[in-house]
């Protein structure tokens, strides 16, 4: 394949305004007038209804961390849902204003703790854009490979937890959960082989990667992908039966208009029928050399989100195989090896970089010039999970409590990222 010069720059029309999908010219027809009032007045619901107020979370087993949502229940039926975020707020963005550029990467691993590689990637791409540093080609390949492996691992974890939401901690759901974790472990093993860490890698740095691939790594990747691919179809048979379909079809439907209005991205947006993927529509690293097949589904319900994520696992497996066979020789980092934590100083400037993380558009907006140029003046992270949680008040009402758990699971929120 012809390797052309690429940049990490998003298209020019991504400056400001509406959803990224709209900016990149995705056509869609509004199906209905948008009704943006999920906070309905309870008095108008029904005069004689005796509503039960249930504070679901933050310690509830199925809220995927410390998410809390106050539900107003009429029997089992949810009338109104008020989400509360912020229980895992750690002030990461503020902390970034004090840390040097090299020191920011490791703390970002804790943001989206299911896809740490993508956090590092998003931030370092923003730093590089700010500092106008070009990443060597080998590193671009490596970063893309890591991002795709991370996508598989993240979606596998999602599949496991979603099955557990549907099937309970003491039943068939846990079996699928254990299988998914077994497969995810294999990818963590690969990352351990590469970086020495299983979770908090700190492998991306400004200008490239810190760890080069060890001998025999491509063979190991192929072996792992083969195992995952063969087992995937094996245990999906366990999941795809009438009970699963009954529990997910028509549940938590997001139509295209609502998805765009809420700023949903990633698999959630694609499951609502909008064909948008930053890997294809605003390619970074070497995605413009890869023909990324974007999976979409028109239904917009939990089943559609499940299907889209599964397709993405399969597509990522294909991309990983392609990538690992074609990694070019060369340096993996274009900057000097780190000798001083304040190696990089930027006086002024701004940069916004968005990547397609497993959960959607993970953006980093950077204003340089804090701490005498050693740190960002402001670093804003756009977490896809936070926007996904914004859908909760729209999706929960008219469903039962059991459905609410399924819907929340299908949104795949990671609180570490949403609360930062």
């Amino acid at each position: 394949m012809a390797l052309t010069e690429t940049t990490t720059t998003p298209p020019a029309n991504m400056a400001a305004g509406a959803h990224a999908a709209r900016r990149s010219g995705v056509e869609h027809k509004p199906t209905r007038a948008f009704v943006p009032d999920p906070y309905l007045d309870l008095a108008t619901y029904s005069a004689d209804a005796d509503l039960l107020t249930l504070s679901l979370g933050p310690q509830h087993p199925s809220t995927h961390g410390v998410f809390r949502v106050v539900l107003y229940l009429d029997g089992e039926l949810i009338v109104k849902a008020v989400p509360h975020v912020g229980y895992l707020h750690r002030g990461v963005e503020k902390l970034c204003e004090k840390l040097s550029y090299s020191n920011i990467t490791p703390i970002l691993d804790k943001n989206d703790y299911v896809a740490p590689m993508c956090n590092e990637q998003a931030a370092n791409m923003a730093f590089e854009k700010l500092m106008k540093i070009e990443v060597p080609l080998r590193s671009k390949f490596l970063r893309t490979l890591l991002a795709e492996l991370q996508r598989i691992a993240s979606h596998l974890l999602w599949l496991g937890t979603f099955a557990m939401d549907l099937g309970g901690a003491l039943g068939g759901g846990t079996s699928v959960f254990m299988y998914c974790f077994r497969e995810r472990e294999l990818i963590l093993d690969l990352f351990e082989e590469l970086t020495g860490c299983r979770f908090h890698y700190n492998t991306h740095c400004v200008g490239g990667n810190r760890h080069d691939i060890p001998a025999g790594f491509p063979a190991l990747v192929h072996q792992t992908l083969n195992v995952i691919e063969s087992r995937l179809s094996e245990y999906l048979g366990m999941l795809e039966h009438p009970i699963f379909r009954d529990r997910t079809r028509g549940i938590g439907t997001v139509d295209a208009e609502l998805a765009l209005e809420l700023g949903l991205s990633g698999p959630l947006l694609r499951a609502s029928g909008i064909d948008h993927d930053l890997r294809r529509d605003a390619p970074y690293h070497i995605y413009d050399l890869l023909d990324v097949r974007v999976a979409t589904d028109d239904a917009g319900d939990c089943l559609a989100r499940y299907k889209v994520r599964l397709e993405e696992i399969r597509e990522s497996i294909r991309l990983c195989r392609l990538l690992v066979d074609n990694i070019p020789a060369g340096p993996i980092c274009s900057t000097k090896p780190l000798s001083n934590v304040v190696q990089f100083k930027v006086a002024a400037g701004q940069a916004y970089v968005a990547i397609e993380s497993p959960r959607g558009e993970l953006g980093t907006w950077l204003i340089a010039g804090g701490n005498k140029g050693q740190s960002p003046y402001r670093m804003k992270i756009r977490p896809p999970s936070l926007h996904a949680l914004a859908a909760v008040p729209y999706l929960f009402p008219r469903h039962t409590l059991s459905d609410a758990i399924a819907i929340l699971g299908s949104l795949d929120p990671i609180m570490g990222e949403a609360d930062r």
Binding site: L52, L54, H60, P61, S62, L73, E76, A163, M164, D165, L166, G167, G168, A169, L170, G171, G172, G173, T174, S175, M178, Y179, R182, M238, L239, H241, I243, F244, D246, R247, T400, L401, S402, D403, A404, I405
Partner: protein, 327 residues
Amino acid sequence: MAELLVNPWLRGLLHGALLITVLMTAVAWISWFERKFAGRVQSRLGPTMVGPSGLLQPLADALKMFQKEDIIPRGADSRLFRLAPPLTLFLALATAAVLPITPGMLASDLDIGVLYALAFSGLLSFPIWVAGWSSANKYALLGGMRMVAQGISYEIPMVLSALVPVVVTGSLSLSDIVKYQASHHWLVFSPPGIGIVAFLLFFTTSLAESNRIPFDIPEAESELVAGPTTEYTAIRFGLFASAEYAHSVVSCALASALFLGGWDGPWLPPVVWMLLKTAALFILVTWVRWSLLRLRSDQLMALCWKYLVPVSLGLLLLTGVWVHFAG
């Protein structure tokens, strides 16, 4: 000694004590078996540390249960809260009284054994509801309400499908039903086609009665934390857990007595056949539990009222016709 055993009261007491001892011991090691089984299903090992192959794990669990702090929530209705766990276990064990383990061995050969067993197993949803109600916890309350709705709904197809053997054999006594099967055919085969469907219906509804996946919506850990037992700790929680296992085992034994010929079988002694059939059914229950997802409560109700109740009514009608013309 022999004269003592002739006394029906003494005999009943002895058999009852024996049954409870055996059943509770079985429940302990059934929990070990289930954990091992789940471990194998999920490609892990299950308990391994306490004793050989983790065989002493149930003892360790029981010891732990006794040592834990016993907490009664401040807002709870303390008397009902304390009443619910032992009542649950009592009802689960009481069902076992009419089980014919061997031709001669059963605690009480009631004339209305089938009715008695179904009534007690149907009553079981009420102490669980009491637990949910008295806990002063919203999850527990929701779980308790689900339990009542599910218990009452599934009672109907369960009783109707259990009536198929009663109609065929013309007796409500469990020992008579098993004796009939020993001399004729097992009822799972006997009204051809009808028997197997009735057995499947009975087995499915008894899964629902004993709160096993895919029908465990009252407990529903992922939604209701632990359902009616959310606020329970220590041995009170342990009583609920053992009651659930006891109920599952008794349901399996009941199903094998009603449809699979109970103690009837060649070569082996009757007690072994009874235990083998019960164990086989329990393995099936466990297998289903660790393979399936859970239904939603309204889907559960729809399944019961739209499909199971009409089918079981039809079965009963067909059985009547069969008995009239062929029986």
